[in-house]
Symmetry: C2
DNA sequence: GGATCACATTGATTCAGATCAACGCAAAAC
DNA sequence: GTTTTGCGTTGATCTGAATCAATGTGATCC
């Protein structure tokens, strides 16, 4: 058997953790594991909602675009995250792999039915959706009201929160280092800025010794206090 | 008895519609009806999540602010909408009445418990949350990537969708009239603009005979095609 | 080794929208 | 009926970020 929930690396973190052994076997029959290459789309904006999935490995971006090509990243997905629009007929956004990825796919109708029969699973899904709603609303404040420097500072702090490598933290200091999982254009699309503005703001933070940039992908936060101040009110 | 779900005006539209007569009686015991004056807050950003509620009458805004006073409206609530953060301990935003309102309030812990015991109710709540997430993500594209004229046009169309008075539509034409439930500053806070920019964009649309403004609160859409074009791509 | 390609940075200039400031206007208060 | 008060509009100016345009840099491929 190719699929096997018992061996799944995300079984304890994904919504599946609400299920017992028998139920895992049942949902296993509905799923298939699919590999997606970096850059490939899993779901297209405007399409009927035919599939939903769990991210097993890799990373995805969730985007919405205007006809002239302007694009906004409206979400990021990592292993154990849930993808797709259950209980609805349209996908309102595109889901694209940022790295080579693996997902565990269900037909939406199968999944909807299974969820309705398993309230604990539905509860997990509700909790995730509520958490995601909180996150998305936080970014509305960022997109609607924050300046470029506030946006970049907020972004770096959120990324450090999600990605900070504990082994790198220095006792007594607040040095944190992490690798951004995407390039400048993606950062710009997350923050509602242009690539040039993002670059300039990063350089500025570097000049003020608030961050260090060993290379384009890696970021060290040297002074998280000041970064926090910039993120919240723009006070340099 | 002051509270009576049987007589409730929103019982068929609110999440309570998932409940049968006996269950309505049970949830009735957990609720109390509360009146809120325009401008009064029901929930404060950062507070512990102690209550949740259904909007029975009136309207609310959901806001998040920066320390220097910049404010972003991140949601609007109308009768039958659900308010508050179930299954979580913090409210991430402030909820304020825009008009004199009535809500049906539950203690969050009572509500959480009741929901877990009634999967159909939880399902309704999930559906609402998913729909709201779609809406909020749509506004991320607006806030992150749309120009002022695109934002105002999108806003007017969405409002017309929600509020258009059917009795005013002219056969064969596309005249639609509605009353904005809020002033220019609120519109600015929804769109991530200033009051002056909103005003100028409205005047511009009026000059181009795309809308008419009988007074500050009322809007007539004269040419919804052109308005749609502006909303989607900015083509005047 | 260079050549190419994909990103990222940096600089010069422009422009959309913010800010600052005055004025208009209708409803409420006197 | 005049004054006040709370919006909303309009105009002049400023500015932060976009745009336009090189230039830099580091991987991959001959």
């Amino acid at each position: 058997m190719i699929n096997n929930c018992e061996q799944c690396v995300v079984k304890n973190k994904a919504i599946c953790s609400a299920l017992d052994a028998d139920e895992l076997i049942a949902i296993n029959r509905l799923s298939r594991k699919v590999s997606i290459k970096a850059g490939q789309a899993l779901i297209w904006e405007g399409d009927d909602s035919l599939i939903v999935a769990n991210v097993v490995e890799g990373a995805f971006k969730l985007t919405s675009s205007l006809e002239d090509g302007r694009e906004q990243i409206i979400g990021l997905l990592y292993p154990s995250d849930f993808v797709g629009r259950p209980f609805g007929d349209k996908n309102e956004y595109t889901v694209t792999a940022l790295a080579d990825s693996k997902v565990c796919v269900f037909s939406r109708s199968d999944f909807d039915k299974f969820v309705r029969e398993h309230p604990d699973l539905e509860h997990k899904l509700l909790q995730r959706t509520l958490t995601e709603l909180d996150r998305v609303r936080r970014s509305m404040l960022l997109l609607g009201r924050k300046t470029a420097s506030e946006r970049v500072a907020s972004f770096l702090l959120e990324m450090s929160d999600r990605l900070a490598d504990a082994s790198c933290s220095v006792v007594g200091g607040n040095l944190e280092e992490f690798a951004l999982p995407f390039g400048r254009q993606q950062v710009a699309d997350i923050l509602g800025l242009t690539i040039e503005t993002v670059s300039r703001q990063m350089t500025q933070l570097k000049k003020n010794d608030i961050i260090a940039l060993p290379d384009h992908r890696n970021v060290q936060i040297l002074d998280s206090m000041r970064l926090q101040n910039i993120a919240d009110a723009g006070a340099a």
